[in-house]
Amino acid sequence: MTMEFDLNGKRHTVADTPQLLIDWLRTAQQQTGTKAACREGDCGSCQVLVKEPGLDHHFRAQPGCLIRVQDLHQCQVLTIEGLLRPDAKPHPLVMLFTEEGAGQCGFCSPALIMASLNWLLHGPALTPEEGEAWLNGNLCRCTGYMGQRRAIVQIASRWATALLASTDRQTTLIALDLLPPYAAIPPCWHSTRPTISEETPEVSIVLGGGTDLYLERPLNQLTQAVPCSSGKLQPPFKEHNGEIWLNAQWPIQALADALLAQKQLPFFSRFNFLFASLPVRNRATLGGNLAHASPIGDAMTLMMALNATLHTNRRSIPVQHLITGFKQTCLAAGELIEWIALPPEVGVSYIHFDKVSRRSTTDIAALNCAGCWHVENSRVTRVRLVIGGASPCPLRLPELEKQFIGLPPDALCPDPTPWLKAALSPRTDHRGSESYRFLLAKQLILAQWDALKQLTSAGSEVTP
């Protein structure tokens, strides 16, 4: 079987041999503008723009080191080489970053252009603060961060107005000479590839964004992992009997963008921001994060607190029943999480997600913590508290929850220590020692209470 996709406006047909996009670009294509400093999704220097079938039909910056060429069937890929203009006139973003001294050795530099375009395509506000968050996945050791900040300010002041007024940012970006004209060519999405449900499911490996799979297994053991684009052809979320159903197969960032645009689930923005880095979020899915069953997976902690139900292609599973052991789930071979249903109660609760890691952003948590609080007549009536990272899988703390029932949010927080000690079994590793995790767990519960106080006293409207 051969794969077909567009690279910088040119159609390529490649054999179905396991190969990462970054290697294919740099060796087979001799296009060395895309760099790789880590090959594990962490540095951002390999970002390329990919337009996938489905989703919102737009380019998104993704890590070339976590994409196989096979995954690109019917996609469009845009690299730094694709932005260079035949008339040799420098690209306006290149000029801005250069003038502001936003690079030194240059190894991380091309990716900043790709990340900036991603921001300009999707950033809801296009303010300098937002730009920082959207370029935060581009590490620079040298480090040109201050120059990048200056460039971000310039970018916002040069193009925000035009883009915010535009109903079609891609077209506007082409008109502004920031994207090449061929970016407008729509990809051909006649689905000729088998998706997982059509193939013999027993032997197939379910593939989401691959951001876990590709790091854990050699590519040649993943020949059965086929991208199932069908999920991306569905909407990012939908309402169903008062429940909100999240599409488990959408990249997390795209899902967050859609929720934000529709003013749904305000807490999800913070969760999204604290989850990995932007290029990783542009591939990683909630379904993959849950199915990976990591003790420290952020989605599991949040979804348990929200009392979510998973809808697979076969059945419904309460989220807390998904994980059956350390990195083990109850999913059968080929069973696909399609939707994550949030009960109507989520709409009338105070929800707070916290995560403490060594580096405050783009890092894996030492611990994460989610709380879903129900307050009536200024008293806590129900609460679900979940802590991840202190046990083989994220843990709900029912005994501790009881301590809060009946308390007004401005009361002193009960000392959670005894209940945490009874429930948690943290271990020492490079993200933190056992005693740190115990202490941190306590502090995270205090922080939940602090957050509830803020949320309720601000009189902030409960989420619709």
Binding site: T98, G106, R359
Partner: protein
């Protein structure tokens, strides 16, 4: 003395043109070694290394691996035609292990195959047989076992016993600083190409092309003139490619020489992190005596350095620790001891700051300790002891300027430090969840290689007949902007625009016997040599012009692409001048050699004049601490720094900002962890965390010029390493904020101050065990 401020980089019209290299970076056009097209017949190398920290190697079994597909050759020490010895300062390092495995990652065999994947698969199949031996993995044990590189060194000034006798306050304690990973984005890489049977070309991402050349020659049993080394540029280095690019370049060279095929060797990120050395961890012990006013009367300190498995640059790094023991302070009675210890870690090596950060953090810790005991703010002691002109350092050199005082007072006045400190204290008093604090760090950093002989550079300037100029320097471009600065020197000398000036890749045949590009002096040394070469060419050209135009030479200048009279009258276009000079058989090329004058150091007396000058600056770091979760944000850094006359404001600003962020990373975030067998745990970007954009503070930089500098071209000054040291204050800002919340807590003087350590210090009485 003039004092000039430069707040934001000037947006000169020529800047896009000037920084066209940077433009190439953003366009992805810049070529790094791994981007070079590989010759058709190229083989790929994988290295088999020691899996244990200490062992006697008894056998290398390659028979299985040889059968793997694509394998062309597997080489061991026995296949080395010349010498296996590659230690530079001390001859204690073998390219490939013979009998002795002394760290995890010690190269043992080289596998060459048709693809990199095949090479790695076969490398995994090579079996090593060995008898494991007990390993020494921490510096204190090594010191106790007397396992050192050379003797303990000793710098002294005044009468230490007397100083302590007079002291009202004496504090004493321990300081630990951790290893720091360079994490240059481009991993170690080289490509070696046999040119003919007796001649080899090596592309290496190294800061020391001549060292690669010298040792490749000796490993292969060739004269140096048979080995060509070319360095395109480095994707970051920070000292990590000064000594430690060498083994990988030599292995590629060995493979190419033996097989007579091109060989490419690239370390994966994991290999690079496991196998190469880091910033030296130090353990130090201080005693500080002060009078009642906070004046330091005596400082007694001992530094134990974890040198790792071989000497590498450790003794040189240690020497810089000794030189910087008293940092920016005038202390009359000083006693400094320092020794480098041998452990079974990969050899630790150069890293921006080169031994100074450990020294400076130790003294700042001692001052912090004293301030707490005396109940005064830390800045009070810092200010009371700031260097004064005329102070003689323990190593005999006199501090001559008042740049440090200028920086200090300017920081206080321009950045409202006093008011901000008062405001913060006031806010903290209301016991908010988020607390703020500010810490100051003064810095005085000696500029020169402390190995005097390295303070030399040659530069070749070629003017081509079309008027364009090509420069071959002795320096390697690695993002520090040395090439941009050299272009500026040439542009100023010849009065021509930047687009006419090209800096060649660094090449051992164009300039010979290069010192490493290090010690912050690349632009000083190469800039001065460039200046000399250009001056000679300029006077030759003007003399020619004067004869031809019958115009007195003293009234001619080169400006705006022309020969002009000093009245501004254009006499001849630069290009025409060059063409005519060529036709008249004038020599249009010049090779100049610069050796920094006035440098000497006598190691028997530990006295001399090791530095050309001192670079000075002061920083103020403001942080916010979340006292509930122990997390913090380094909010803002204000810096005043004596830069002299900037050759390239944008480059200098970038050096300052980048160094500060690296320093903040070192002080707060970056932590190397090994397991009990000496295996690196934090071996990836996922586990070794460096600052990202949002982690990084806002930075505002005030460059001042305290006076003329005869050791830098056009009175410019070095800026490569010092900024990193100015980031160290982040540690103290965080611990100050912790103490504003929890007065009683004992916080060890240990880098880095991670959120974990901060939280534990905030809640010292919490016990996890029930």
């Amino acid at each position: 003395m003039s004092s000039k401020t430069l707040k934001t980089p000037p947006q000169s019209e020529s800047s896009p043109l000037k920084h066209r290299t940077l433009q190439g970076h953003f366009e992805g056009k810049t070529l790094f070694t791994d981007d070079l097209p590989v010759p058709e017949s190229c083989l790929y190398a994988a290295v088999v290394t020691s899996p244990v920290a200490h062992a006697e190697l008894t056998a290398i079994v390659t028979s299985e691996a040889e059968k793997y597909p694509g394998v062309v050759a597997i080489l061991t020490a026995r296949d080395i035609p010349g010498s296996n010895q590659i230690g530079d300062i001390v001859q204690d390092e073998r390219l490939l292990a013979e009998h002795h495995l002394n760290f995890i990652g010690k190269p043992v065999a080289l596998v060459l195959a048709n693809t990199a994947e095949q090479a790695h698969q076969a490398a995994d199949a090579v079996q090593l047989q060995y008898h494991e031996k007990p390993s020494t993995l921490d510096v204190k044990t090594a010191y106790r076992e007397n396992s050192t590189f050379g003797d303990e060194r000793h710098f002294q000034k005044g009468d230490i016993a007397h100083g302590f006798e007079d002291a009202q306050w004496v504090v004493e304690g321990d300081v630990d600083t951790q290893a720091q990973e360079h994490l240059y984005f481009e991993t170690q890489v080289s490509l070696a190409i046999p040119m003919d049977g007796q001649h080899l070309k090596i592309f290496s991402a190294t800061q020391s092309p001549s060292a690669v050349q010298k040792f490749a020659a000796s490993v292969l049993g060739l004269p140096m003139n048979a080995v060509e080394v070319e360095v395109l540029r480095l994707g970051g280095a920070f000292g990590g490619k000064e000594e430690q690019a060498k083994p990988w370049a030599l292995l590629a060279a060995l493979g190419a020489f033996v097989t007579q095929k091109p060989v490419k060797l690239v370390l994966s990120r994991h290999e690079d992190m496991h196998w190469t050395g880091k910033r030296h961890p130090y353990h130090s012990h201080y005693r500080l005596g002060l009078d009642s006013t906070g004046k330091i009367l005596a400082y007694d300190v001992q530094f134990l350095q974890d040198g790792g498995a071989v000497a590498d640059l450790s003794t040189a790094v240690l020497e810089r620790t000794l030189f910087h023991a008293t940092n920016a302070y005038a202390i009359e009675n000083v006693n400094v001891k320092a020794v480098s210890c041998r452990t079974h870690h990969p050899s630790n090596t150069a890293f921006r700051g080169f031994g100074a950060p450990q020294a400076i953090f130790t003294l700042e810790s001692a001052i912090d300790h004293a301030a707490r005991v005396m109940g005064c703010p830390r800045w009070h002691i810092q200010q009371a002891n700031l260097l004064q002109p005329g102070y003689k350092f323990a190593y005999g050199m006199t501090y001559e300027t008042n740049a440090l005082q200028q920086c200090w007072s300017r920081l206080w006045s321009e950045k409202s430090i006093a008011r901000r400190m008062r405001d913060l204290e006031q806010t903290n008093r209301s016991a908010p969840r988020y607390r703020k604090s500010i810490a100051l760090t003064p810095l005085c950093f000696g500029i020169a290689f402390t190995a005097t002989h390295l303070n030399q550079a040659s530069v070749q300037v070629n003017i081509y007949t079309d008027g364009s100029v090509g420069i071959a320097t002795s320096s390697v471009e690695m993002g520090q902007g040395v090439n941009e600065k050299i272009r500026e020197v040439v542009a100023r000398c010849f009065g021509i625009s930047f687009d006419m000036i090209h800096i060649d890749y660094t090449h051992s045949a164009r300039t010979a016997n290069m010192s490493p590009t290090a010690a912050s002096v690349g632009a000083d040394l190469n800039g001065m040599a460039t200046l000399q070469a250009c001056s000679k060419l300029k006077s030759r050209l003007l003399k020619f012009c004067s004869q031809r135009l019958k115009h007195p030479v003293e009234h001619l200048t080169l400006r705006a692409g022309n020969v002009m009279t000093d009245q501004g009258e254009v006499l001849l276009e630069w290009r025409k001048l060059v063409t005519e000079a060529y036709l008249s058989r004038e020599h249009l090329c010049e090779l100049a050699h610069y050796a920094t004058p006035d440098l000497y150091f006598d190691r028997t007396r530990e006295q001399g004049h090791p530095f050309a000058y001192h670079a000075c600056g002061v920083s103020a770091i403001e942080i916010t601490l979340d006292t509930l979760l122990g997390t913090y944000q380094v909010e803002h850094i204000d810096v005043v720094y004596d830069l002299g006359e900037s050759l390239d404001p944008l480059v200098d600003l970038g050096q300052m900002e980048g160094g500060l962020v690296q320093g903040v990373g070192y002080a707060t975030l970056e932590e190397i962890l090994w397991d009990s067998n000496g295996r690196l745990i934090t071996d990836s970007f996922a586990t070794y965390k460096i600052p990202d954009l949002m982690y990084s503070p806002r930075i505002s930089v005030d460059f001042i010029q305290s006076g003329r500098n005869p050791y830098g071209p056009f009175s410019s000054k070095a800026i490569g390493e010092p900024p990193l040291l100015l980031g160290l204050g982040a540690y103290f800002a965080i611990t100050d904020a912790i103490r504003s919340h929890t007065q009683t807590t004992e916080i060890p003087y240990q880098l880095p101050m991670t959120p974990e350590k901060a939280l534990s210090a905030l809640y010292p009485s919490f016990t996890a065990t029930s």
